[in-house]
Symmetry: C2
Subunit: 230 residues, 2 copies
């Protein structure tokens, strides 16, 4: 019986991927006179993946990779003022207000009547803390965990720290790779709420999930109804 719900944050409780999508569009436009969009996307993604071990997740590393990829794609011909536009987009992403997804503002407080809630997110510590504070939801969570990675060892560590037993835990999120599969592997439950946009890096082949402790729902509004069946 579920007693503790872990919530992912970006693209589960509030919008996030749209901002990256917008940054990609601007980036393609800026580099359009050098390369077609597909090549721009390919080089940017390769740059991001090469830098991921050094930069980790988050807007700042993405923004640095954009500047680097723009210089490479233009073979050094891009103007400094154009690179400044990339920096400005990064600052805009970081300053952007938090937009809760529909229903979140009422559902999260309502769930605290029957469940303990944890917020379990990955990314940049400073930015995630600012978003949690801006969301107005922080007070409803018994614990807020900002991780550099969401995998089996990090979930184990977090759940141990909070004294959470896996048979009473469900993780709710939009990423099969980061929110669902590691928790199922540990023996917990998972509710997948796909978002209409997914970062390429978070894509996984559809996993054969144990039928009993996994559900996919179309929107977070369906969550309360599935919780008793996990």
């Amino acid at each position: 019986m579920i007693r503790i719900i872990g919530f992912d944050a970006d693209d589960t409780l509030w919008r996030n991927e749209e901002l990256f999508e917008l940054a990609h569009e601007r980036f393609r436009a800026l580099l359009a006179r050098y390369h077609p969009p597909a090549e721009v996307d390919r080089v940017l993604y390769a740059t991001e993946m090469r830098n991921l071990p050094l930069y980790g997740y988050g807007v700042k590393g993405f923004n640095l990779s954009c500047v680097e990829a723009a210089i490479a794609l233009s073979e050094g011909r891009i103007a400094a003022r154009e690179l400044e536009e990339i920096l400005a987009t990064g600052r805009e992403m970081l300053a952007h207000p938090v937009e809760l997804l529909p229903g979140v503002a009422s559902m999260v407080p309502a769930l605290t009547r029957d469940y303990r809630l944890l917020l379990i997110t990955k990314g940049d510590l400073h930015h995630q803390e600012r978003k949690v504070a801006a969301s107005g939801l922080a007070g409803h969570f018994q614990g807020i965990e900002i991780l550099s990675e969401k995998d089996v060892p990090t979930y184990e560590r977090v759940l141990r720290r909070h004294g959470v037993s896996l048979d009473e835990f469900v993780m709710v999120g939009n990423s099969l790779k980061s929110d669902i599969l590691p928790v199922l592997a540990l023996g917990g439950a998972g509710v997948h709420v796909p978002y209409h946009l997914t970062w390429q890096h978070e894509h996984v082949e559809e996993a054969p999930a144990p039928p009993a402790r996994f559900r996919r729902i179309g929107s977070l509004a369906e969550l309360p109804a599935v919780l008793p069946h996990l």
Copy 2:
């Protein structure tokens, strides 16, 4: 009587500020044909401070501010290839091996015989985690806390989480502002180990510390001798 020691990490257990110093030197050299060193430093620091609420602490934010300041200082005339040099310096800083300060490798394990140790550091989550792992010291700490800021509320939260009573706690670090003053304000003890380099932002006027629970030592080697007197 002290039972728990909190250690700062950067410039307390391992070298850090030298890497920023080197990055500053390269930055001054790159901008030398536009402005004298003092003006270059002034604009870079102003850029860093303006961006701090968005970027937080750490190498990635610093690196982004360097690119922005270089474009501003050169009025957009700097070449993309020169900006790529700034990016390369940032990646070098992140990839740099962790160099423990003298005596740390033997002192930290030795202290665990009589004290519980906590590592309490601020900055970029991903980079700090990588440095903690690379230091080889992680196993000696009962808790590792990576914070976005080190002030009175964050120390209170961390010490509560670890069940630490302030009369048995001492914080050891190189920054009066981040390591010592907030802990003294809470009623804990502080041992200041100045480092030969201090980032401008960490400078504070010398504080009139309560005499009983504050010591300044010349090097970490003196720490075991002062602990019984705090």
